[in-house]
């Protein structure tokens, strides 16, 4: 007797839309907020181009987290086969990297705030210009701290899945979008590498 395993088709539901719309809106809000970078375009150089990449990474971040959350909703095949799907793996790996970068950003911010407070309480504080505390400007925000790490990690994950024969895909919108987001992360990482923040000489 031939057994037919019923696997429910992953359809695009209202809950998916209600999760994705705020995530995309948050990313677009970062992009709109970062339009101040365009002010510097009269001096069009490599560093300005690089500054334009950061909002793109900030746009992908909420989308990645939302896709991962939606992937863990019903219907899903099984945890093992779910975590072998390229889209789910890309979102998981990128999410881990984003969390590590956020942690590193706040660690750096705490150190700089501590230094700033120490300096303002010192005897030389009258020499300091009045300025904002670190972390309160757009360029100091978390949107501008994301770099090439998620893209490189996704590239490594794709390489491992492909070389170990574990590359699985599902003919559903969520896996396709997940894979697409993974490729966007990889392209973004390559752009970050081609446009380094410093000149090596």
């Amino acid at each position: 007797m031939k057994l037919i395993h019923f696997r429910p088709q992953r359809r695009f539901t209202t809950v998916d839309a209600l999760t994705l719309v705020p995530a995309i809106a948050l990313g677009v809000a970062w992009l709109v907020e970062a339009r101040s970078v365009l002010h510097y375009l009269e001096r069009f150089d490599r560093l300005v181009l690089r500054q334009l990449l950061h909002p793109l990474a900030a746009f992908l971040t909420p989308l990645t987290l939302a896709l991962l959350a939606l992937r863990l909703r019903w219907p899903w095949p099984s945890l093992r086969s779910c975590l072998r799907q390229a889209g789910a793996v890309a979102c998981s790996v990128a999410a881990v990297c984003v969390i590590l970068e956020v942690f590193n950003h706040f660690l750096d911010l705490t150190t700089r705030l501590y230094d700033s407070v120490q300096l303002h309480n010192s005897a030389a504080s009258y020499m300091l210009p009045t300025g904002r505390l670190p972390g309160l400007t757009l360029f100091d925000s978390i949107a501008f701290s994301l770099g090439e790490a998620p893209g490189l990690a996704v590239a490594g994950a794709y390489l491992a899945l492909w070389s170990a024969g574990l590359w699985r895909t599902e003919s559903s919108w969520i896996d396709r979008v997940g894979r697409l987001v993974g490729w966007f992360w990889i392209i973004l990482a390559l752009a970050f590498i081609v446009l380094p923040p410093w000149s090596p000489y």
Partner: protein, 165 residues
């Protein structure tokens, strides 16, 4: 001073780890009767494969940059003249007039990029193996050495987060 010492040690260790990694990749190809996919699930082999690909990508990047820089110079100097370098454009090992300068060492730049990027790629590959429940460590010295080299690259990449240039 400590920062300079750490960077120097890192550069030497990176220069040592790169050929070792390529050697380990060749040794890891031997797996008896095991299938190619089984061999590719060993974390040491995966680390060697990912690291070698990053190494070739970094070398290719450094090889392409001078050629690309010529086009950038032609485009940029038309607009900004000899001040193009101070505008932040990546002119490679050329100065703003298009002449070769020995101010940059492509070998050291490739090593620097290697120590920044290889750990991220290897970390992602290992994370994917763990998530897919495909982490199959092999009790051989080749795989153990591969895992040690992979761990070195990850530590090296983490160091750039905590101690930036």
């Amino acid at each position: 001073m400590a920062r300079v010492a750490i960077k120097s040690v890192l550069l030497v260790a990176t220069a040592t780890a790169c050929p070792l990694m390529v050697l380990l990749l060749f040794l890891a190809r031997r797996g008896g009767r095991r299938t190619r996919f089984w061999r590719a699930r060993r974390p040491g082999a995966v680390a060697s494969l990912a690291g070698t690909i990053v190494l070739f990508a970094e070398v290719a990047h450094q090889a392409i940059r001078p050629t690309a820089a010529v086009h950038v110079i032609r485009f940029v100097t038309r607009s900004w003249g000899p001040h193009a370098r101070y505008m932040g454009w990546d002119l490679g090992p050329f100065n703003s007039l298009g002449n070769w300068t020995a101010m940059e060492d492509p070998f050291a730049t490739a090593l620097l990029g290697m120590s920044r990027h290889a750990g991220l790629v290897i970390g992602g590959a290992w994370l994917a193996l763990i998530l897919a429940n495909a982490w199959r460590p092999d009790p051989t010295w080749v795989d153990r050495a591969g895992r040690i080299v992979g761990a070195f690259w990850i530590v090296s990449a983490c160091h750039f987060f905590l101690l930036p240039i």
